[in-house]
Structures are given as structure tokens and as C-alpha cells.
Symmetry: C2
Subunit: 249 residues, 2 copies
């Protein structure tokens, strides 16, 4: 059974579930894989707020508990559809928490899976632009994993992150987390980031926050290859439980 820590955020959890279904070879209900999706967002503090020091509560503890609940439900492999949760201060704490609890659940690392997918599927791409929250950017979530694999990683400069990308995700009126879909304002702000990364030399754009795929749905944007970590995680989860069920790309 696949387990999903679905509350980070709830629409990202929904998007991951949707992508697991769409990437599964199935022609009847009964052909689909077993999936437990647990959304308990209230007890998980905002990941970016923790990384920026705005709260001292590490959201790792709540996510670890939810992973243990998913294991109890029968999940043998699990994913967390939140890039910011993959910052070492959070993801490392989750991994240690699972070890301390003697857990057997296999937690996939979405960022590592993105690295593997880039090497496998787009060998000609070297310079990767990452659109993300401030938390993911300042803790170098993507560079710390992709640079050792030989990729050059660029992120928008801090002012652009603060004025455009972060509000596209978080604004309580037009942000994707509040609306559950991409408003025109959110999309326009994200496109500023795409243009900036393109001008800086990016050949591909990683949608480095799981809310961004709700705004950028095509395989290319502004002529650049789009890399969707949620889709890559969905495929990796299917492959982990039953490779024969993985649809061709």
C-alpha cells in the first residue's frame, strides 16, 4: 500500500493522489493500487515558517506521527508531497524519527527522485531553474541534492521570491493554497519567476513547490522543459509497490 502525508498542503496531497491514479495501468476500479491518504494539516506547522525561524515547532514531528499512522494502516512505502518538507532540518528529523520508532515504512525522498528522473529522462539538460517557496530556496533543498549529481541549479533572486513566488503560493486572497486553484494573479507572478530563470540560462524548470503544478500544467513553459516533482513522486511510489502497474510516459 502507498501512503501519502496529504496535508502539506491538502491540494498538493490531492494532486499527488490524482497523479498516482493517472499513472497507474488500470481499466477497472479493482486494477488500482491500494492507497492511504492521510490529511491532518492542522497539526503540521508551516514548513517555510519553521525554516525561516518564525516558529520553533519543527513540523517533522507531526509528519513522523502521520507516517506511523499510515504504516499502521498498511502502507509499506510513502511520500510527502511538499518540497519544503524536504529541507534537511525537517526531512532528516522525519527520517530519524522513523528510525527511532523502529518503523519499516520506506519513505521516498521526492528531491532525490527528481535527480534520478533528470538523469534518466533529460540527459541533455544541465542547467536547472527551481521555482519554490522561500523556505525551499534559502535551505538549498534542490542544490544540495542536484549539484552533487552534476547539475547546475539556479533559483530566482530573493526579492523575486518574496514579491512574486511566495505570494503566488501563500497570499490569503489570490494564492494557490487559499484558492485551491491557480488564479490569474498567481499564475502571472509565477511566470515572472519562469522568465527570470530562463534569462539566467535555465534549460528546464522544476516546479519546486507542490502547489505550482496547479498553475503550470503543460510539459513546456516559455520554451523550457517542465519538471513536476509531484508527477515524479507519483511514478516513483507506483514503481516502489508494483513496477508492472506503472504507465509508460
Amino acid at each position: 500500500m502507498i501512503g501519502i502525508v496529504a496535508g502539506v498542503g491538502p491540494y498538493a496531497g490531492l494532486d499527488l493522489l490524482k497523479k498516482i491514479l493517472s499513472q497507474t495501468v488500470a481499466s477497472r476500479d479493482q486494477d488500482h493500487l491500494d492507497i492511504a491518504s492521510l490529511s491532518q494539516p492542522e497539526e503540521i506547522a508551516d514548513r517555510t515558517a519553521f525554516l525561516l525561524g518564525e516558529t520553533t515547532v519543527n513540523p517533522a514531528y507531526a509528519m513522523t506521527n502521520q507516517l506511523l499512522r499510515l504504516q499502521k494502516m498498511g502502507a509499506s512505502v510513502a511520500g510527502i508531497p511538499c518540497n519544503t518538507a524536504h529541507a534537511p532540518a525537517i526531512f532528516g528529523r522525519i527520517q530519524r524519527g522513523l528510525e527511532e520508532a523502529g518503523s519499516q515504512i520506506r519513505l521516498l525522498n521526492m528531491i532525490v527522485e527528481v535527480g534520478y528522473a533528470l538523469q534518466r529522462d533529460t540527459p541533455a539538460v544541465n542547467c536547472i531553474g527551481v521555482l519554490s517557496t522561500l523556505g525551499t530556496a534559502v535551505t538549498a533543498v534542490y542544490p544540495s541534492i542536484l549539484e552533487p549529481l552534476g547539475f547546475e541549479v539556479i533559483t530566482p533572486e530573493k526579492r523575486l521570491l518574496e514579491d512574486a513566488i511566495q505570494p503566488a503560493i501563500y497570499d490569503p486572497v489570490y494564492g494557490i493554497k487559499a484558492c485551491g486553484y491557480a488564479t490569474k494573479t498567481a499564475r502571472d507572478k509565477l511566470m515572472l519567476g519562469v522568465q527570470h530563470l530562463k534569462e539566467a540560462g535555465a534549460q528546464a524548470i522544476v516546479l519546486g513547490c507542490t502547489e505550482i503544478p496547479l498553475a503550470i500544467r503543460d510539459k513546456q513553459v516559455a520554451g523550457l522543459i517542465v519538471i513536476d516533482p509531484t508527477l515524479i513522486l507519483a511514478r516513483a511510489l507506483i514503481f516502489a509497490v508494483n513496477p508492472q502497474k506503472l504507465a509508460t510516459q
Copy 2:
């Protein structure tokens, strides 16, 4: 916590989850309700096949076990996004199974909720057309609940159900269960049913199979009011756990 028996079918479970999120008052991840969605489709026999006598395995037993698992996860209220599962031979067996297990989970009846919603929201409507699987139609799932509430219920004649509605849902090539979205063929076949029900005097159309809302998304179709049981169940589940979180319609 809301529990969802999400494997009947998996795309209907996804649609219910999506509608719970969209009907919740929330501007941050943490504002959303706790939801456990358990999709274990393989162990649940096809509901229509059971009702038509093509299998003797009552899918009620597997669904009862899944409800007990959801309760163990913390769910206090639950829903099953499958109209056919609400046929008395199945739903009654689930209710008895929960009683026998001493379960405290509050299982909502989606069809009863549709009846309440019709009385509350569309008091001028009397004649209801129901688009559904053969299993839902032959076991009179909707008439048995809506007629005692004073509604007239009409369903497409059997040949139309067999030649158009059932394949729109189940066909392994173009059916909604196989594709996870509504192909043009599936939509065209469902529209034959809508036209038939309109000519027979229906004032509103109940999308009486949880795959149909993937094809008919508007609030009106062919001039008739569209009643989406998945949306009604989503709102009833939110209301059951936290009325203040229910968005205005």
C-alpha cells in the same frame, strides 16, 4: 476526522476528496479538516455485478472492514462515494456489519443526503430523473428513498441503461472508470440519457453514479438542474464534523 471509502471507484474517491476541500472555508493548509481517504479497490467486488447476480461476494464485507480501518485512523464520520453501494442489499449489510463490530463511526447515507438537499435547496422540483448504473437502477436505490419524501423518480429504460449509460461508465476503452476522465464517447452516451429523462418530464437530473460528475460538471444540463450526490455528500461530511467550516453554496 472525515473518513472516505475511496476505492469505489478510485476516481470517485478523488472527486469526493476534491469537493470536500473546495467546500471547506480555508485560507491556509492548517484551516482544512482532517481527512483519511482509504482506497483499497481490489478487495471490493464490483457493486453492479453483485446486484445483478454475476458474483455472490457481497462487496459490503470489504467496505465494512475498510470503514473499521478508517475508524481506527481516527475517523468519526464517513462516506462511501458510490451510489450502487447504497443499494439496500449492500448498504444494509454494511450498517449491520458496523453494528456487529460495535463501531461508533457515523456512516452517512449519500442517497438520504440527496433527498434532504432536494427538499431544502430545490423545493419547486418534483420530478427527478436519475442517471445511474444498471445496479442502482434495478434495485431502485433512488426511488426507495426519494418517493417516500414525495418526489417522482424516473430512470432511463433498460435498453438505454445497457447500451449507453452502463458502457459510458464501464467500457474498458472509452468508459470513465477506465480513463479517469470523460471521453467524448462517454459524454455523448450520457447525454442520450439526459435527453431521454428530459423528454419524460424530469425537472432535475441526479448524477446517480459517482463517475458521472466527471462528465457533467455544470450546474445545468440541457436546461435541467444538475444534482451531484458527490458534492452533496462532501457538504454533509463537512457539516457533520464542523458546520462552521462549510462554505456557502
